[in-house]
Amino acid sequence: MITVNGTLNIATGTAIRINQINEDMLVSVGDEFPMFVYTKARTGTLNPIISAGFRGTFSLVDAPNPNPNSGGTISLRIDTISNAPPANLTWTGANVNPFTGFAEWDLNITPNFTESGSPATFFQKDNVLFDDSASTGTVNIRRP
């Protein structure tokens, strides 16, 4: 959780990334997780880009204190969780991280896979195939 001593401004284009630290913890639709505490006002958008390692939709919920400009709490809410079966992905390794020099297998960040021929990222529980069609066989598995 991030505490802002003052006004919190969530600019347009802000990206929020959710990493599930405890993979054994069940998450459900409607769960809310406090992310920001601010002490004065909140400005900007409540619709940033939110991504996670599992397929779903998310939103931010602002709960300001009753007195104006006296702060509040913004929580992340899980709106939907996909019930679709796992995707079947094929590794391409097409995108090399310029900082590490490796093609990385990460959680819904780098499109180093294809799904039905289209670039795709990996979500938890997907099936993955590594075959001879990839551009590299060096797979850097990242810890989120």
Binding site: W105, D132, A134
Partner: protein, 284 residues
């Protein structure tokens, strides 16, 4: 950490390396097919087991790794080779009937990483051995350096479950550089006793190839090319000595038939003779 449902590596022309600070978790599994190589440098904690149905899998080449195949499930190996690093493997191992699993230990790597002294290698499975297939344990030479000619090794399974068949274990000290003093110890606490494939006498040469059944009490020794059998059926005095030695040792552990397999004479040098071309001398 990455939690896939199923990871399939089906490679023939492209070799794969799994590396990085992450790893596989969850209840999923890993399947390797094809003739290509997979190097596993990640520490994985998946519990769905791993199936190696072909090719070559190297573990520990990127650091000691007991978690290459996860923390649960069975490691099934069928007609594939695993290059090990000597660290304990946590999984049970299953070798289906009619198939072979080969575990190789590179002596130089073992020398650097395990003992640091005598050039020995140790393998250890903390799980059980299942299945009716053949397990081959081999020690190979060390890269560009000359291999240590005095290696000794031990290979330990926590236990052997023969409920699903009669398996075999081949102990091969060094395919390319037969060692005059190499010995192996195979320890399978249950139900088999320890068997030591040590030196013969009087020439004090190793038994380079030995095959042992864990249940039926038979042993097959595959002899080095020096132990050739003459085309006129001559059995040399040293072979006779070897035979007596084997019988004494074997009888002290488990009575049963013993078979010597010897290369034909003149022995072919290249390619190395196939087992099927060797003549046998029953010693029951």
């Amino acid at each position: 950490m990455i939690k896939p449902t199923l990871v399939t590596i089906n490679n023939n022309s492209l070799n794969y390396v799994f590396n990085g600070d992450g790893g596989l978790i969850g209840s999923g599994g890993l399947v390797k097919t094809g003739s290509g190589t997979l190097t596993i440098g990640t520490q994985n904690r998946h519990t769905g087991g791993s199936t190696i149905n072909g090719g070559y899998v190297m573990i520990g080449q990127l650091g000691n790794n007991s978690l290459a195949f996860g923390t649960g499930g069975t490691l099934t190996v069928s007609n594939a080779t695993l290059q090990m690093d000597g660290n304990p493997i946590l999984n049970d191992m299953y070798i289906p009937a009619g198939s072979t699993a080969t575990l190789t230990y590179e002596r130089l790597f073992a020398w650097n990483s395990i003992t640091g002294s005598s050039g020995s290698a140790s393998g250890n499975f903390s799980g059980n051995l299942h299945g009716s297939g053949t397990l081959v344990i081999a020690m190979s030479g060390g890269g560009s350096n000359k291999p240590d000619a005095n290696g000794n090794g031990s290979f330990i399974f926590n236990g052997v479950d023969n409920s699903d068949g009669t398996g075999y274990v081949n102990l091969i000290p060094d395919l390319d550089y037969p060692s005059p003093t190499c010995s192996w110890v195979l320890a399978m606490p249950t139900p088999a006793a320890t068997w030591s494939g040590t030196r013969d006498s009087p020439r004090r040469r190793a038994l380079p190839f030995a095959r042992r059944s864990a249940t039926c009490g038979s042993m097959i020794c595959r002899l080095a090319p020096e132990w050739h059998r003459h085309p006129y059926g001559q059995s040399t005095a040293s072979v006779g000595t070897l035979r007596r030695w084997i019988l004494v040792v074997w009888a002290a552990i488990r009575p049963g038939p013993v078979t010597l397999l010897m290369p034909r004479w003149p022995r072919p040098t290249s390619p190395r003779p196939a087992w099927e071309r060797w003549s046998s001398l029953e010693m029951c």
